[in-house]
Amino acid sequence: MIKTSRALLAASAAGILVLSGCASATDDSSTSSGSTSGGGSSASATKVSMWSHAAGNDLEIATVKEAIADFNASQADYEVVLEEFPQESYNDSIAAAAASNTLPCIVDVDGPIMPNWAWAGYMQPISIDSALEDSLLPGAKGYYNGELYAAGAWDAALGMLVRQSTLDAVGARVPTVDNPWTKDEFDALLAAIDATGDYDYAIDWGNGWTGEWFPYAFSPLMQSFGGDLIDRTTFESSDGVINSPEAVAFGEWFGSTFANGYANPAQTGDRTEFIAGTIALQYNGNWAVKDAAEALGDDLLILPPPDFGQGPKIGAASWQFGVSSSCDEVEGATEFIEFILQDNYIVAFANRIGLIPATAGAAAEVPSYAPGGEFADFVTFSNDFGVLRPPTPAYLVISTIYEKAVADIINGANAKQALDAAADEIDANLADNDFYR
C-alpha cells in the first residue's frame, strides 16, 4: 500500500514538473515587450503589449479590439496584444507595473494624469504624423515640457441635462451658449423645482462618483466663480488660489445646494434617477447622453452650465494613448497609435460611446456631432467653455486633496475652513515632494 502511494506521488510530482515546464515554455513565447522575432519570419510578428482602462465599457473596448485586429491584419511586423483593466484600479496597476518594471508598451492615460506619469518616468515622448497632430482637438493631445506624450481619439464635455417639460412647469427660460443662466437664475430654478414637490431632489451633481469626477466636474464650476486649483504660473502653491474668496464663494454655494435639500449628499453612482424622473437636473457628460436621448427623445435639453462670473466652464481632456518609457518597440507602438487615430475609428468611438470626435474630419462624419446634430452642442461647449485641469505632476495629489475638501463641503463642513485646509495640505505636500520638479 505504501509503495503504490509513493509511486503515485512520484508520478504526479513528475507530471506537475513536466506541465509547468511546458507552461513556462509557452509563457516565454508570449511575453510582451522585449521579445524579438527573427527578421522575415511572418509566423511571429513582434508583440507589442497594450493596456486599456476600458474593461467593462463594452462598446469602448470593442472598438479598441477592432482597431487592434485591423492593425494586426494590415501589416506583418507588429502584433498588438491587449490587456484590459477596470478604470478604478487602472492607475494603481500602472504604478505597480512601473515599480516592478513590467509596464506594457502602449498605455492609455487620462489627460490630467499624464504629466505625473511623464515626470515619474513611466512614459516617453512620442512623435506622430504632424498633420494628424495638428488636426486633433486641444483636449485630445497631452503635452508636458513642450513635448507630446499622448494623443486621444475623443474629448469629453459636460452639460446640464434637463427635460423641456420640467423648465416649462416652473416657467424657466432655456439658456443658450451665448446667454447662459446666471447664478441667481440657477438658484431660483433649483428653488422653484424643489418647491413643486414632484422630485426627490432638484439636481444630481454626480457626487456618487468618487475619484477623478470631483475635480473634473467641480473645479470648472469653481473656475467659473473665479477660483482655481493651483497657481498656474509656477505650479508651486495653492494658497490664495484654491482658497481665494472666489473659490470659497463656490464652496459655500455648492454646499448650500446640499444643505437646502436640492441635491443628495448620499447620491449613489448609478445615476439612473434623471431618466427615471425622480431628479430633475443632471450634471453629466456627453458619454451619458445617448441613453438619456433614447429615453427622453425631444424632451431632453442639453444645456451649458451656469455662468458664475467668469463665464460657463466645463472640464476638458479625456483618455489618450501613449507609450511607456520601457517600451522597446516604439516604432510599432507609434504606428498603432496613428492607426487607431484614423478618422474611421474616431467616428466609431463617437458613434458608439457618444464622445466628441477628436478631429474635424471625423466630426463631419458623425451625424450627432456634425453641425446641427443631436449632440453638436457638446462640441460648442468643449470649444468655448473647456478648461484643462492643471498640467502638473502634482495633479494626482491636488486631485485627491480637492476631492476630500469638496466631499467635506458636501457633508456640511465650513467651506472656507475646508478649502484653507486643502491649500495647506497641497502646499505641504508640494514642498515635501520638492515641487514635483
Partner: protein, 357 residues
C-alpha cells in the same frame, strides 16, 4: 550494513527521516510566507524611516524618526476669536500653521477647538497629522464595539444552531454565506440599503412609529455605527463556526450531570458551557480585534473616510497617504505604528485572559 557516508545521506532512524520529510513539506509554504509576508513587513519597516515616494524620479533618503515626529506631534495654541464669526479664530490660527508661515506649527492641522466664555479666545489642539488621531479614534471605536457585538452575536447563533432544532445545516449555511461573499460586493449592496429610501429605512420605518428616514452614510454620527452593523453582519458567520467547534468539544455528560442537579438553561451556560469555551473565547476575541483594527475595504468602498472624517481608519489613512498623496515612506511609518498597536493589544488580551484561568 551502512557505511559512514551512506548513514549521512540515508539516515537510518525513522525519526530523522520523518523530520526531514516534514521540513521539506513545510518548506514551500514557509518560503512563500517569507517572500510575501515577512519580506514586505521588513521592507515596510525600513521604508518608514525614509522619505520614499510612490512615484518619483529621485531615490529615497533616510530621514530617521521625522515621519514619526510628524505623525505623533501634538500642540496647544491659543488665538484671538470673534464670537460673531467663527472663521476669525481659524484665520488667526492659520497664520501660525500654514506651510508658508515657517513656524514650529507649520503644516499642523486642527484636531479640536474650544472657546472661552466670551468667545474671544479659542484654544486649538493641533496635530502634525490630525487625520491619524481621528483614524485611531475611529478604529478603536470600531474594534471596541464590533468585538463584543460580532463575538456575542456569533455565540448566540452558535448556541441556537448547536441545539436540537430542525434545519441546522440550512441555518448554518445561511449565516455563513455573507462571510464567503466579497466584502466589496457586500459594501456596494449596503450602500443601497443605507440610502434614504433604502431597505434599512423602510424596515425601521415599519417598526418604529414616527421614524424619519435618514441617509446613514451621509450623517457623521451614524456612518460608523452603520458600518459597524454591516461588518458584524458579514463576519458573524465565521465566528459562529468557531464557537460551534468549541461547543462541540464540551462533553455531553456534563450537561446531563447539570440537568440531573436541577440546573436551568442559564445556569448550565454559566457553569458548563462558558468555562468550556474559554480557549475559544480567547481565540475569537484576538481574531476579531486584529481583523477589526485592520478595517479598510468597507471604508474605501462606502465612505472614503467621510463624512467629515467620521469613518477614516488607520489602514485607510495610510493607504491614502501612500498611494494617493505619494508619501510611501510616511505611509510605511504609519504601518509600523499600527503594527505596534495591534501587537500590544494582542499581548494585553492574552495577559488578561490568561490571568482569569
Amino acid at each position: 550494513m551502512t557505511t559512514g557516508i551512506q548513514s549521512r545521506l540515508f539516515p537510518a532512524s525513522l525519526k530523522a527521516k520523518s523530520a526531514r520529510a516534514g521540513f521539506l513539506f513545510v518548506l514551500p509554504a514557509v518560503g512563500l510566507m517569507m517572500l510575501f509576508l515577512v519580506a514586505p513587513v521588513i521592507l515596510a519597516f525600513s521604508l518608514g524611516f525614509t522619505n520614499a515616494k510612490f512615484a518619483s524620479p529621485k531615490d529615497p533618503e533616510f530621514v530617521g524618526l521625522d515621519n514619526f515626529t510628524e505623525m505623533l506631534s501634538l500642540a496647544q495654541v491659543s488665538v484671538a476669536a470673534d464670537p460673531s464669526d467663527e472663521n476669525v479664530a481659524f484665520d488667526n490660527l492659520r497664520e501660525l500653521t500654514k506651510p508658508a508661515a515657517q513656524t514650529q506649527y507649520s503644516g499642523m492641522q486642527v484636531l479640536a477647538e474650544s472657546y472661552n466664555d466670551g468667545g474671544t479666545q479659542a484654544d486649538f489642539t493641533i496635530a502634525g497629522d490630525a487625520l491619524f488621531w481621528k483614524s485611531l479614534r475611529n478604529t478603536f471605536v470600531f474594534a471596541g464595539v464590533v468585538a463584543p457585538l460580532q463575538g456575542g452575536l456569533a455565540l448566540a447563533l452558535a448556541l441556537l444552531i448547536n441545539s436540537r432544532i430542525r434545519g441546522k445545516v440550512f441555518f448554518r449555511t445561511i449565516y455563513f454565506m455573507p462571510v464567503v461573499t466579497s466584502m466589496v460586493v457586500v459594501s456596494i449592496l449596503w450602500i443601497f440599503f443605507y440610502q434614504k429610501d433604502g431597505l434599512a429605512n423602510v424596515l425601521l420605518d415599519a417598526v418604529i412609529p414616527g421614524y424619519e428616514p435618514v441617509a446613514f452614510l451621509a450623517e457623521p454620527s451614524l456612518a460608523l455605527p452603520a458600518i459597524i452593523f454591516m461588518s458584524a453582519w458579514q463576519g458573524v458567520g465565521f465566528h459562529m463556526i468557531i464557537w460551534l467547534a468549541g461547543l462541540q468539544t464540551i462533553p455531553g455528560e456534563l450537561y446531563e450531570a447539570a440537568t440531573v442537579d436541577g440546573a436551568n438553561k442559564w445556569e448550565q451556560f454559566k457553569a458548563v458551557t462558558w468555562p468550556g469555551l474559554q480557549t475559544t473565547f480567547v481565540f475569537v476575541l484576538i481574531i476579531i480585534s486584529i481583523q477589526a483594527m485592520g478595517l479598510f475595504t468597507q471604508i474605501n468602498v462606502m465612505t472614503k473616510g467621510g463624512p467629515l472624517d467620521s469613518t477614516t481608519t488607520i489602514v485607510f489613512h495610510l493607504f491614502r497617504e501612500g498611494f494617493r498623496k505619494n508619501e510611501i515612506g510616511y505611509s510605511s511609518a504609519i504601518a509600523i505604528v499600527f503594527f505596534v498597536i495591534v501587537v500590544a493589544i494582542s499581548i494585553i488580551q492574552r495577559r488578561l485572559t490568561r490571568e482569569r484561568d
